[in-house]
């Protein structure tokens, strides 16, 4: 892994040098962000800049430190790599600055679609798209004599076929860990059934509905085909199960697609049989039960103009077309000019074409997500009814939203 990273950084440095993309900055740059492979590549490319120091702190705990790290004056970090869910927290706390002036001055080469606009303000620059979609073992599905599912109802049939033929005991995988992951799976299913989290134009919750109940019942039905420990499995654990050959079919993040076959220790038959497909629909709906995401970077507000400018230049260099090569291209669905989609990207593109809704970018969505994560586990364990669980979520959300001033 370490050697790979060095090789990656080395090859990118060589590429950048040969392509003649220089990057000169005049003030410090400090990055905080998540740690998956695509973001590592962006961070490494930004660190090619010379003239001042570029520090980066890439960690899966980024979201617990980025608000605090951007709050001081001057702040510890000058930029945060964020997604459409986490930028909301930064905007709520007013710690990121509009980028309009910097885009006007240094923005040549960025595509219009990369600019995240909230009203008239450009608040972030996106560099990759992400969505959860289907991954499966084509060899196992063939062995069971079933077609690749396009709906969750068909996924249940596939799971039953695989189990009843004794091929696998628990063929379905899913990141159902109580907390953020479980809430996200609910969001997917709920939107797939046509639900909306809030009453139009307000912060009033709207999940204790038929769509909510259907979503929970479908999740419960799927969980019957999962490893009984499913409430403790996050994306990492679910993928480990998949790569160990214990799971044949799962809804998983597109950003993990290329690593399913390349990670150390993956079984040969898994690497050979791995395939990806579009996200599934549910309940006869036309839009997939999934959400569309982007990852990008925002620049802190509590820093000097020189630092903001240096940060913009360095981060733009981090996502310049020059950073795309054979190593980095398969890591994500890049929104960068000149990106040629690889095999691993087709799931996310299919999601976008099918009209997958974006993850709601609302100021109070974070509170709803937390409430879902805390209250749904009881239903999944069969301790209470779907209606009761959803009523609990709404009550928990309401208490939090009143505290934060979103509801009276």
């Amino acid at each position: 892994m370490f050697l790979k990273k060095i090789a990656l950084a080395g090859s990118m440095a060589a590429f950048a040098a040969s392509a003649g993309y220089a990057c000169e900055i005049g003030a410090r740059v400090s990055i905080v962000g998540n740690e998956f492979a695509a973001i590592q590549a962006v961070g490494a490319a930004a660190q090619e800049c010379t003239g001042a120091e570029v520090e980066s702190n890439l960690t899966s705990e980024h979201q617990t430190i980025n608000v605090a790290g951007l709050s001081g004056n001057p702040s510890e970090y000058t930029t945060a790599i964020i997604a459409n869910s986490s930028i909301v927290a930064l905007m709520n706390e007013d710690v990121v600055r509009p980028l309009n002036d910097l885009v006007a001055k240094h923005g040549d080469g960025l595509q219009k679609s990369q600019l995240i606009k909230i009203g008239d303000d450009i608040m972030a620059v996106a560099f990759m798209a992400n969505a959860q979609h289907l991954m499966y073992r084509k060899d196992v599905l063939e062995q069971a004599g079933v077609a690749v599912p396009t709906t969750y109802e068909e996924m249940l049939d596939v799971a039953e076929a695989i189990r009843s033929q004794g091929i696998m005991q628990n063929p379905v995988g899913g990141a159902y860990k109580a907390g953020w992951n479980l809430a996200q799976e609910f969001n997917n299913m709920f939107l797939g059934y046509g639900g909306t989290h809030f009453k139009p134009g307000s912060a009033e919750p709207n999940i204790n509905t038929e769509a909510g109940v259907n979503a929970l019942n479908m999740m419960k039905a799927l969980s019957e085909y999962m490893n009984p420990d499913f409430l403790t499995h996050d994306s990492n654990a679910t993928n480990a199960e998949y790569r160990a050959g214990n799971v044949a079919i799962l809804n998983m993040w597109g950003s993990r697609a290329s690593q399913q076959t390349t990670t150390e220790g993956v079984l040969e038959e898994v690497a050979a049989g791995h395939a990806i497909a579009a996200p599934l629909t549910v309940g006869g709906g036309s839009i997939p039960a999934s959400t569309l995401w982007w990852d990008g970077w925002a620049v802190g507000k509590n820093i000097s103009d020189e630092e903001a400018e240096a940060t913009f230049i360095a981060m733009k260099h981090g996502i310049s077309p020059a950073m795309l090569n054979d190593e980095t291209s398969p890591l994500a669905v890049w929104l960068i000019e000149g990106y040629q989609p690889t095999e691993a990207a087709q799931g996310v593109f299919a999601a976008a074409q099918m009209g997958t809704p974006p993850y709601p970018m609302l100021p109070y969505m974070g509170l709803m997500h937390s409430a879902l994560g805390n209250e749904l586990a009881d239903f999944m364990q069969g301790k209470e009814s779907a209606e009761q669980a959803l009523a609990d979520v709404e009550a928990a959300y309401r208490a939090a939203a009143i505290e934060k001033g979103f509801l009276q």
Binding site: Q63, T64, V88, K117, P228, A399
Partner: protein
Amino acid sequence: MRHKTFLWFFLPTGLAMLLFIALPIVSVVTQSIFAPHPAVLIEVESCTPLVGCTTETTIDQDATAALRAEKPLGRFVGLDIYFDRGHLAVTEFGEIWASSDSWGDMFKELGNLPFYRAMAFTLTFVAVVTPLTIVLGLVIALAVNSLHRHLKGLMIFFSLLPMIVPPIIGSLILFWMADSRGIIGSALIAMAGDPDFSLKASTGLMWIALLVYGVWHAAPFAFVVFYAGLQTLPSDQLEAAQIDGATRWQQVKFVVVPHLMPLVTFVALIQLMDNFKVFEPIIGFNAQAHAHSLSSFIFNDLGGETRQLSSASATSVITIIGVAILLSPVLVRTWRDFKGAR
């Protein structure tokens, strides 16, 4: 000691306590009775990749900044946050009290409220782990003390291992062993004869695992304290007891334990406090589906995408009050001893 001398001796400690104990408490109390201003929301067109432009709700930063500048602490909410559903849930408690027919009914419905559910686990944890830790610590101390002196060092080292291992690592190791593909998990599956048997999916078994972890982790602390106490046990007392014909059990009961009693109080005090704040095993065992404590609530409030500082502060204050209530019998006794000594 003259009062003035005492004052000068106490001053550095007093200052440190003011700075590191009193001020933070004042700070959390303040934060718990203030909440953020009502959010000023506006509708704007927002544009994102692959989706295009849609109308989205966002916070009007200029208006919010003006509110914040006027009252930086936020709006005063008094005890509202303490009484909301995430904490004491006064309204919901009242409804359940009025509507349930039996105690069983009431406890079942209370279990649906996060605070009371967390209290059920926390108090069980305190009530089970504290005495077991003391008993186990004493047994280990007596056993090690009776070993040959060449073996003692080695045994002390091994007995201390659970305390040397960082709590989160210790609980993770146990968690992986209890996984349905781990050694304990697969052994349980073999014994139960059910391939779907899962320790992590059962609330009861998960509680037992957490309790076992709690005792395993804390016993070395009790052991070390008691072992140190045993070294001060006067041998003439034991010899006298032996001459009087006391059995080994009687020696322990009438000589050793009374000698160690002040240490038992000390260990109990520390353990009550620690166990009430149980946190690491819940995270390490990924047990959030089955068990919560006040500390894990604070962790959730601060770790979500939207931080809930007021809620976390209110939970902190409740934790302080809870610890004070738990310790009150011991504190009252200490106070009486102090009065008696004068």
